[in-house]
Symmetry: C2
């Protein structure tokens, strides 16, 4: 009855408490102080170090401590047969819904610009946009992207969405695959990235994608930092192909002090705060999956190693 946590540079205490709280019989060890690696079959991980899984010859499951799993799947030491699971949390979804709604309304209402104008004591009115005239495209219609698209539609925005497979969703205009991307992008005022990070989606927010949007469109990235080509964004803001961006995730986090994003007034930075997962509210997913493994049942929230999400 043991779970090993592998998450260097991470305060694991809240997770330990939450797991014990769910199941007091559970033994929890934290890498690199863990023992008896021969018999470890279940690991809970965030940013596991290079080669670390070589030390666990009988590993069966690696559970991510969050919604993202690429930090695990791209680790070359992970055997192809190991099951990888992610967190799916109602609260996380709701947090993302309201974070994106906030970002989109701030785009419509120019609030970051007014905050900066206030410092100049500048009473300058800027035209606002109404939701019903604002066309938003959501990249990724998964666990999070779909409810985000739905809350935007519920608030009168004109919403489209893009996914791998074709979908039919009420009040949302859907597009699928590489072939559907240009048609999806061509009429948008705002694009919101909620894709998972995979080989196909890494660097997807690049010059080519921006050039398919109408001039002056706006970008919101709440997926992962590696979705965005950061220098292409700076270039697109410079040429006014894009009018601005709200970014919650970055290639390097915390964003380095010398990063040009900090001083760019067209960019609104939030410190990866769209949703902060509360271990207490998701620990039961981990302990339940652990028991399922022991009982030979199918685990929940398994990702496809083949698709990478």
């Amino acid at each position: 009855m043991k779970i090993v946590m592998i998450s260097p540079n991470y305060d694991t205490r809240a997770w330990e408490d939450a797991l014990w709280n769910e199941n007091p019989d559970l033994e929890i060890e934290v890498y690199p102080e863990d023992t008896d690696r021969e018999n470890t079959d279940f690991v809970l991980a965030w940013n596991p170090p290079k080669d670390v899984f070589d030390k666990y010859p009988n590993l069966k499951v690696v559970a991510s401590m969050g919604a993202g799993i690429r930090h695990i799947t791209k680790n070359k030491s992970l055997n192809a047969e190991v099951i990888v699971t992610k967190i799916e949390d109602e609260q996380l979804i709701e947090d993302l819904q309201y974070f994106v709604l906030t970002s989109v309304l701030n785009y419509c209402r120019n609030i970051p610009q007014y905050v900066l104008q206030q410092q100049q004591k500048n009473w300058n009115r800027v035209a606002y946009k109404q939701p019903k005239e604002t066309r938003i495209g959501v990249l990724g219609l998964g666990n999070i992207g779909l409810p985000v698209a739905q809350i935007l539609a519920k608030n009168n925005f004109k919403v489209s969405g893009w996914s791998n497979s074709e979908k039919e969703i009420e009040s949302i205009n859907t597009f699928a695959g590489e072939d559907g991307l240009s048609a999806f992008l061509k009429d948008l005022d705002v694009v919101v990235c909620l894709l998972p990070l995979t080989d196909d989606t890494e660097d997807i927010l690049n010059e080519d994608l921006f050039s398919k949007m109408p001039k002056g469109a706006y970008l919101i990235n709440v997926g992962r930092g590696a979705h965005l080509n950061e220098s292409d964004l700076l270039e697109a803001l410079e040429t006014e192909q894009l009018s601005g961006a709200a970014l919650d995730v970055f290639q390097d986090e915390p964003l380095p002090k010398d990063h040009p994003f900090w001083e760019n007034e067209k960019i609104t930075i939030t410190p990866h705060t769209a949703s902060v997962t509360n271990p207490a509210s998701v620990a039961n997913q981990i302990t339940e999956n652990y028991l399922r493994l022991k009982e030979g049942k199918e685990l929940k929230h398994i990702i496809s190693r083949k698709k990478g999400y």
Copy 2:
């Protein structure tokens, strides 16, 4: 067939165009260049000058160019029998709904604080609030206040409302009158003012009201500048009785350069931009009321001179 516009320091051109567009037979004159005041019965006004109505002995109707009417009713030269009408506009209501939703979400998500932190290259996470744990009270449940309360409730906020008369409204906790005010205020995280400006509501956002809210509560004023006692607000921010405020309206507009609000980081200023009325979308209310007057029918959107709203 004549309407006289009395709105000094106001570019009347868009209104003239919009009225002509609705009714090309209509003659429109602009004060002080207007003629034959003896026979003028219908005036369209915004901030009419002191004593001006003395010049119109046969005035029957003064129509406001906006939702506010006190700039008309407090004019001592206005005869008590003159009918005063206001603008009621679906678009104005929708604009106010989304403006308040934006302000409340920014309170929850600390966006103005992040914009300021960005200037310091400061990657500092601040805890956010979820809508379902945020208690918002709307002062005024009228034409605008009620739909604002409803859109907040639809987005999971815990909403209460306060009005003169008692009401029953689905998903909204209602309170009425002076007697209900303390009970209404005592559990709120955020109070939103959408009262009309009257003798009773002038200066209502004052030390006494703030002291009835929980310590650290937040204020949003989208009513009128004269609802707020500006020095009481500064004092309440200083003592941390209030944690912050978002203000769209002010005693003096544009807000004077030397006003202490500009430099207060706990205050988010927008330049009276919650809703900007588009004459083209409301001119038909004016021309319709003009025809109703001519035909002896009851006018629309009449305010009670006795209640003052």
